[in-house]
Each structure stands twice: as structure tokens, then as C-alpha cells.
């Protein structure tokens, strides 16, 4: 055995704490070590070239590099080994930076620890076996989950690249939160004007299959080869017959709309048969089984069905389950707005003139319940309006994070409300966060428009008048921290700028797709900087506010990035998998099934005929749980075989 050993100084990162020359000399004396060198930067081209040359010149058959974390440079040195003509997996990396130099101050002790680490690796590497990466074919189709602006943009990008895309949306229409908005900051573009063309592009794109009113119910398979089951809920409408003429709505036995209109945030009513908004895509009506008399009792005149001259209404329709095969999945499931009722002291739900920001979005919207006229619930027009930032943000009682869009949308609403009502606007903020292109300029504009910016978190909204001018008003109590005193400000209308949070069922979705969530519930990206749209499940990408609060420009950018990552995966045609997987030695397996439920990736199945466990190496991520749990020791994991681990232990202890 001829082992090559290299220790990296990493500038002073390692050499500042560890005596590299001493470790080099120590390693040179260990059995089997043919070459032992130290170098300032092993990851540099000359560093790698030194390895390549030594493998060739000294006929090395094992390689050990003591440097930084394998997650940074393991691949670099594997490639160097391969270039020298050695199997990449005859290499072992020793982390003497994060595990040693960066966390120790005593140089002598750190050097001794480095020697122990190095001896462990050199003892272990002898037992390494030649391994090869596996290549599996990739299905070129992509599934996009969520039809908000993120899902729409990702689907269109992929479809334009020629890929077949299925877009699954839970609601009866695509459009998401953006469809609720009147204007978008900071340019004040009309949201519908920029969104609806993309919605109809999705509907009409030959490469996109649009499934609304549908939910993913099962995901099986692995990167490049996912099998997805989608539940297509019935609208009780034959989708190929309905043209969205709305005659059925007119004919419904409910003469007046009676039920909460979710799209208008409950500011108006709708009938059991409804279409969310005029540009709903697809342009189909939906019958709500919770409120439709026929569906609840079976005793209705069914005047809607009679009115439909295309006979599109069918109360006998049932939900359908559809199966899809895709190579990659993009999750763009969006966010929930914080429920302002949770901050009882702001009076939402108690005082009718306290509104949530989403309600105000509908209120100022020309296609909203009041056609854009700002009329309060008591029928009055507001003369003074208070906008309260950070409702459900930056608060240990509710959500700790900054929701990132509230400052900007509050500024937008301040502008729109001032424009619509001419009212005096008071804007209560903790910090004004306007970090985006032309965002600060928008704040500047609002300052000039004469909005009162009061820095302080509002303590309370109540209706107890203490002065004559406060009679009949909602009083906002706040410390104006810039002026240096507490103020009471009477207003007619209060707008609560709700924060963004993960959807209530984000945990279920996370489990369904086998990806991670942060403590706050948003989907976890693989790396916050360098892999922002990837997840720990290969082939599943995330885009938009399901990953964390973000505004429309960032969401669209992220959706484009997710589409590009998915495209890079499915376009390659095949994918290489790490060989650090487990396998069952069949003759030793006792068929106890202990391993089957333990596998977090559902990679282990049980062969009932042979009464043996079997591991799908494509699904296996090499976590090692099964190998550790197997009572008969019949599960082996590549790169973590018993002799390798015992060698390592022996090396570190001797």
C-alpha cells in the first residue's frame, strides 16, 4: 500500500494553530505512507497538480488530505485523484480546520489532535474499496405545485424551454395573492394588468397542463423519476363544456349572494356557485359543496343546471385521482397572511373599522367589492387613517421575523388611500425597511406626499375618547420615539399590515415531498446563499414565499432560478448519485423488518417472497440509520463499512 498524505495550511486558517510541518513529519513515519507533504493552499491548482503528479510518479494507491470541511473540497480532491489515475473513493479527507484549528487555541494540543485525526484517516483509507457513481435516467417532465406568480413564472419558463409542465393549484383559479392586489410597489403597476397576461399564457401554452382545484396527495420515487398522485377535486362542472358565461350564477336559487366571498376577504358575499373574479383562469365556475343546497340536501330545484344551455353542471361528478411521472418538482406554495385577531389589542374583529391589509387591498381595488371606493363598514368615508406596521412580525409572541414586504406595501396602501380618500394618513413603523431597487425613492415620495411617519410600535387601538376630538373615533396610542413623547391619535380607519407566515399545512406538504422546514415553518433551502432554490431532496426545488417572505420581484427571480435548476436537471437526461449507499447482504438478513420504518427516505422495501429487506440505492441518501440498526449486521454502507470505521477508531485512539 502506498499512501500519499497532504496537509493544507489554508493560509493561516490552519497553520496559525496547527504545526503543519510537525503533522507532515508525523504522517511520514506512519506505516504505508509513501509521500507526506504540506502546502499553503492544497485546493489551488498547484496544490492539486502536486497530488496528480505524486500519484503518477510514486504510484500512490491511497490519498489522504488534511484540510477544510469535505463539504467544501472533497469533490476537488476526488477529481485530483481521478486525474492521477486513482479511483476517487480511495481518498479520505480530514477536517482539521472546522473540527480543529478554528475551535482550539492551545497550539500544542491542537497539533496533537491533528496528528490523531490524521492517523485515523490513514488507518481507515487502507480499507477503502473502489466505488463508482451511479447514473440514473431522468424524466424530462416537470411538476409545479402552486399557481401564484412564482408557480406561473416557473411553469412558463420551463414550458418555453420545451419541457412538458403540469401546474397544480389548490384554488379554483391561478393567480395567488397577486391577483388580490390593486397596484404593486414601487412602480404602482396595476397588478391585474401585469398578472393576467401570464395567467392566460399558462392556460394557453401547449406545453402546460393546468390542473386547478387540485392537490398533490402522494409523492413516490426519487430524483429524476418521481411518481406523483394528484387529487382533482370536482367543481361539479364539466370543465370541457363550461364557457364561464355565468348564467348559472344568475339562476341560482339564492337570489342574493349569501356566503362569505373568500376572494374579497369576506368584504362581500357570493352564491354557492361562483367564479372568484372576472379574469379567473381557467374561466370556469365552481360549486361550493359546503353551501350548495343540492349538494348538501339533494333537494334543490337545480335552477342553475337548467339555466346552463351547455348542460355543463353535473352534481354526480366525483373527485378523480390522477398519476403523473416527472423528473423534477418545483414547490411554489406561497404564504399565509398573519391573522390580526391574534393581536387582540389592535381590535381586529372587535372594531368594524379595523381592517387587515389584504382587506384594504380589495377595498382600494377597482374590481373589488366597492369598485375601489373606500367606504368603511359603517358606511362612512375616512378622514384620518392609521396604518400599523409589523402586525405579526418582529414579535417573540407571534412571529420573530421581519416579513420584508410590509413596509413597502404599507407605503403603497398609504399612497392609494390618500389618493382615494384625501384622508390624513398616519403610518406607524418600527424601522422603515425599503431595501430594493427604487424602493427608498418610493419612501421619499410618500414623505413628500405628507404622510405622517411615526416611529413606534402601536400599543393599543381603542374607542375610549379622552378629548372631544376623539369622540366616535378609534384612538391609536403610540410612543412617537422620534418626537420623544406618547401620542394619542384619533382616526376613522385602522389598517393592520399583517406579516407573512408559512401556510398552516406547510408541515404536511413538507412531509409529502420529504423536504425540510425551518423552525418558522418556511421550506428549508439546501444552502441559504449558494443553493437557495434547492432542497435536501434532490430534484425538488422551491420558489417564492414558501421559502420565506419575499416580494413579487424576488419571487419571480427565484421562480426563474428554480426553473433553471429544474431544467439543468431534466435536460441532462441522467443524474449521478453518490455511492455512499447501503445494501443488504441477503444471506445474512433475518427478515426482522427493523430497518424498513426507520428509513427517512422510504428507500427500504421488504421482499415478502424472499423475506428479505432490500434497499433502493437510488433513493438511499447514505444516512446510515439502517446499517446501525440492523441487529444481524447484514446491512453494509459503502464508505462506512465496519473495517473502515474500526480502522478509524483504532487510528484515533492508538
Amino acid at each position: 500500500m502506498r499512501i500519499g498524505f497532504y496537509i493544507c495550511h489554508c493560509g493561516t486558517n490552519i497553520a496559525g494553530t496547527i504545526d503543519a510541518a510537525a503533522v507532515r513529519d508525523f504522517a511520514a513515519e506512519l506505516p504505508g505512507v509513501a509521500v507526506s507533504r504540506d502546502y499553503k493552499y492544497m485546493c489551488s491548482d498547484p496544490g492539486q497538480e502536486m497530488i496528480v503528479q505524486d500519484i503518477r510518479d510514486n504510484k500512490l494507491d491511497r490519498l489522504v488530505v488534511a484540510a477544510c470541511s469535505p463539504s467544501l473540497h472533497e469533490e476537488t480532491f476526488r477529481k485530483a485523484a481521478a486525474k492521477g489515475g486513482m479511483n476517487s473513493f480511495f481518498f479520505q479527507m480530514v477536517n482539521i480546520r472546522e473540527h480543529n484549528a478554528w475551535v482550539h487555541e492551545d497550539k500544542a494540543a491542537a497539533t496533537q489532535k491533528a496528528k490523531d485525526q490524521v492517523r485515523a484517516a490513514i488507518t481507515r483509507v487502507r480499507f477503502h474499496k473502489a466505488l463508482e457513481k451511479k447514473s440514473v435516467p431522468v424524466n424530462a417532465n416537470v411538476l409545479v405545485v402552486g399557481g401564484g406568480i412564482a408557480g406561473i413564472h416557473a411553469a412558463l419558463t420551463l414550458a418555453n424551454a420545451g419541457k412538458t409542465v403540469t401546474l397544480v393549484e389548490r384554488d379554483s383559479t391561478i393567480g395567488g395573492h397577486m391577483a388580490l392586489f390593486d397596484k404593486t410597489f414601487p412602480t404602482l403597476d396595476c397588478a391585474a394588468c401585469i398578472l393576467t397576461p401570464k395567467m392566460s399564457a399558462v392556460k394557453n401554452h401547449p406545453n402546460i397542463t393546468l390542473w386547478t382545484y387540485s392537490e398533490v396527495s402522494k409523492v413516490e420515487g426519487y430524483v429524476g423519476n418521481y411518481k406523483v398522485t394528484v387529487k382533482r377535486k370536482t367543481r361539479y362542472i364539466k370543465e370541457d363544456l363550461c364557457v364561464g358565461c355565468l348564467d348559472c350564477i344568475e339562476a341560482c336559487v339564492f337570489k342574493e349572494p349569501k356566503f362569505r366571498d373568500d376572494f374579497n376577504q369576506g368584504l362581500s358575499k357570493r352564491k354557492p356557485v361562483y367564479m372568484s373574479f372576472p379574469q379567473a383562469t381557467p374561466k370556469l365556475v365552481t360549486i361550493d359543496p359546503e353551501t350548495c343546497i343540492q349538494l348538501k340536501t339533494g333537494k334543490c330545484r337545480k335552477s342553475c343546471a337548467e339555466a346552463c344551455d351547455r348542460k355543463a353542471i353535473d352534481f354526480e361528478l366525483k373527485d378523480e385521482m390522477k398519476e403523473l411521472e416527472v423528473g423534477a418538482i418545483i414547490l411554489a406554495t406561497g404564504f399565509s397572511a398573519f391573522d390580526p385577531k391574534r393581536h387582540a389589542y389592535y381590535g381586529y374583529g372587535r372594531y368594524p373599522n379595523v381592517y387587515s391589509a389584504l382587506e384594504v387591498e380589495r377595498l382600494v381595488n377597482a374590481s373589488g367589492p366597492t369598485n375601489g371606493e373606500v367606504v368603511l363598514r359603517d358606511g362612512k368615508h375616512p378622514k384620518a387613517i392609521g396604518i400599523i406596521h409589523c402586525v405579526g412580525s418582529r414579535d417573540e409572541h407571534t412571529n420573530k421575523w421581519c416579513s420584508r414586504v410590509c413596509c413597502m406595501y404599507s407605503l403603497k396602501l398609504a399612497h392609494l388611500l390618500k389618493e382615494h380618500t384625501g384622508a390624513e394618513i398616519y403610518d406607524f413603523y418600527i424601522d422603515m425597511r425599503t431595501p430594493g431597487k427604487t424602493y427608498e425613492e418610493f419612501y421619499d415620495r410618500l414623505l413628500q406626499e405628507g404622510v405622517h411617519f411615526i416611529r413606534g410600535r402601536v400599543a393599543e387601538v381603542n374607542d375610549w375618547a379622552m378629548t372631544p376630538e376623539e369622540e366616535g373615533k378609534l384612538v391609536i396610542r403610540v410612543e412617537d420615539t422620534l418626537a420623544g413623547f406618547v401620542r394619542r391619535i384619533p382616526v376613522d380607519m385602522v389598517v393592520l399590515s399583517q406579516g407573512l407566515e408559512a401556510r398552516k399545512d406547510a408541515g404536511d406538504v413538507r412531509r409529502l415531498f420529504n423536504i425540510g422546514c425551518g423552525t418558522e415553518g418556511f421550506f428549508q433551502e439546501r444552502h441559504p446563499k449558494l443553493a437557495p432554490v434547492s432542497t435536501f431532496a434532490d430534484g425538488i426545488f422551491i420558489a417564492g414565499a414558501c421559502q420565506g417572505p419575499k416580494d413579487i420581484p424576488d419571487t419571480v427571480a427565484q421562480a426563474g432560478a428554480a426553473a433553471a435548476e429544474a431544467l439543468a436537471l431534466v435536460d441532462a437526461g441522467h443524474v449521478e448519485l453518490e455511492p455512499n449507499t447501503s445494501h443488504v447482504v441477503e444471506e445474512e438478513c433475518c427478515g426482522c423488518k427493523s430497518c424498513v420504518p426507520l428509513c427517512p427516505y422510504s428507500a427500504i422495501s421488504f421482499d415478502e417472497a424472499k423475506k428479505k429487506a432490500s434497499i433502493n440505492e437510488v433513493l438511499c441518501k447514505g444516512c446510515g440509520v439502517c446499517a446501525a440498526a440492523c441487529p444481524s449486521g447484514s446491512i453494509r454502507q459503502n464508505l462506512f463499512e465496519d473495517e473502515e470505521l474500526f480502522g478509524e477508531i483504532e487510528g484515533v485512539l492508538s
Binding site: T467, A483, V486
Partner: protein, 211 residues
């Protein structure tokens, strides 16, 4: 010391105050203030001020007129222009200070017996009346209006200055004072000037008009 209520109600605000400041030359950018506090940090006198310049701008913008006009801050401003030069939003803080000073004199809202505003008012009155300043009269006037005990302690110095001819009791005046008033009268905000110059000038002006 009795406890004072410090909370402010909407009735404590003058809702037109900020608009008025913006309407006066130099005040246009008042509302663009982002409250960064650079003005206060750069101000060599802010360590003596009751409200820092940043806070004063905020109070002015929010319409707390009484607090602003009765503050010492506007009178401590030495017009060094450091704040105006460095303000990231190019707010002409010094100009706004002048606007507020004029208004404070007009409304007689400045801190009583504080020498700086009294000096400014009496100086103005004298110049607009005679076209010249008589230092002896101005100094006596100032001390009597602010701190007459200090006047007694300064008598020796005053007498010495008179003896050496540095100060005089003789009133000085320019010729053709009516021309000065015409010039001043043609300025913008004539009414403001009349109030500013005080009742004496006004009286003279009326006499001129009667002629």
C-alpha cells in the same frame, strides 16, 4: 417638582404648520427628513439644545408648533451650516431655523429673558428704525430685558468703552430712512417685516403713509 403630563393629543398639533414651513423659501424639503440624526451629530451646539435638530425637524413636521417655537434650539443655532451641508436629504436645516426664529418673534413665543431672541428682535427693530445700530442703547436695552443684574456688573466695562470712544450715547441714524423702508417694504412678506420690526417701525411706517 410637580409631575407634568407629557402625552400629546391631536389638538396639540397645528395641522398647517408643516405646510407653512414648506411654503417659506428653504423649507421645501422638510418632509423628506428620514430622521437619521446626522444634523444633531454634526451640530457643534446640539449638546446645549433642549431638542436636537433632528427632533426639532420631526416636531415641526408633525405640527407641534408650540414646542418648536418655544424651544431654545432655534436660538442656539449658530448658522454654521454644518447640518445643511451634510444632510443626506439636502434639507436646509439652517434656513428652517431662521424661518422658525422669525415666526417665534412674530408670535412672541420664544423663551422669555433668553438673550439671543431678545437681541435678535431689538437689533432688528433698531436697524429698521434708524438704519444703524447704536450699541450702547442696544446693550442697555438687552440687559434690562433679560438680566439687569448683569447690567450692573458690566457698567465698568461700558464706561471704559465710552471713555475710549468705542461706544457712544449719541443716537446714530442714516439719511433718507424712508428709502430704506421702501427697500424693505418691497421685499417679500412685507407684513412679516412690519411685525418683525416691531411697533416702532410700524408707527413710523403709518406716519409715512399718512403724509
Amino acid at each position: 417638582m410637580p409631575l407634568q403630563q407629557t402625552i400629546k393629543y391631536e389638538a396639540d398639533r397645528d395641522p398647517h404648520f408643516a405646510d407653512w414651513i414648506q411654503s417659506v423659501a428653504g423649507g421645501e424639503n422638510l418632509r423628506q427628513c428620514i430622521q437619521c440624526g446626522l444634523c444633531s451629530a454634526t451640530c457643534p451646539l446640539s449638546l446645549y439644545m433642549d431638542y436636537t435638530p433632528r427632533r426639532l425637524i420631526n416636531l415641526a413636521r408633525e405640527g407641534f408648533k408650540k414646542e418648536v417655537l418655544s424651544s431654545f434650539t432655534i436660538w442656539l443655532c449658530a448658522s454654521c451650516y454644518a447640518c445643511r451641508a451634510e444632510c443626506p436629504k439636502q434639507i436646509k436645516v439652517t434656513d428652517i431655523m431662521y424661518t422658525l426664529k422669525r415666526r417665534a418673534i412674530q408670535e412672541n413665543a420664544f423663551p422669555k429673558r433668553f438673550p439671543i431672541p431678545v437681541l435678535a428682535r431689538e437689533f432688528g427693530k433698531m436697524v429698521f428704525t434708524f438704519g444703524r445700530v447704536n450699541e450702547t442703547l442696544l446693550v442697555i436695552d438687552l440687559f434690562l430685558r433679560t438680566n439687569w443684574l448683569r447690567f450692573l456688573s458690566m457698567t465698568g466695562l461700558g464706561l471704559n468703552l465710552m471713555r475710549t470712544g468705542r461706544m457712544s450715547f449719541l443716537p446714530e441714524s442714516i439719511k433718507r430712512r424712508e428709502e430704506l423702508r421702501k427697500i424693505l417694504g418691497s421685499l417679500e412678506g412685507k407684513d412679516e417685516f412690519l411685525t418683525w420690526a416691531g411697533p416702532v417701525a410700524k408707527l413710523l411706517d403709518e406716519k409715512e403713509m399718512l403724509k
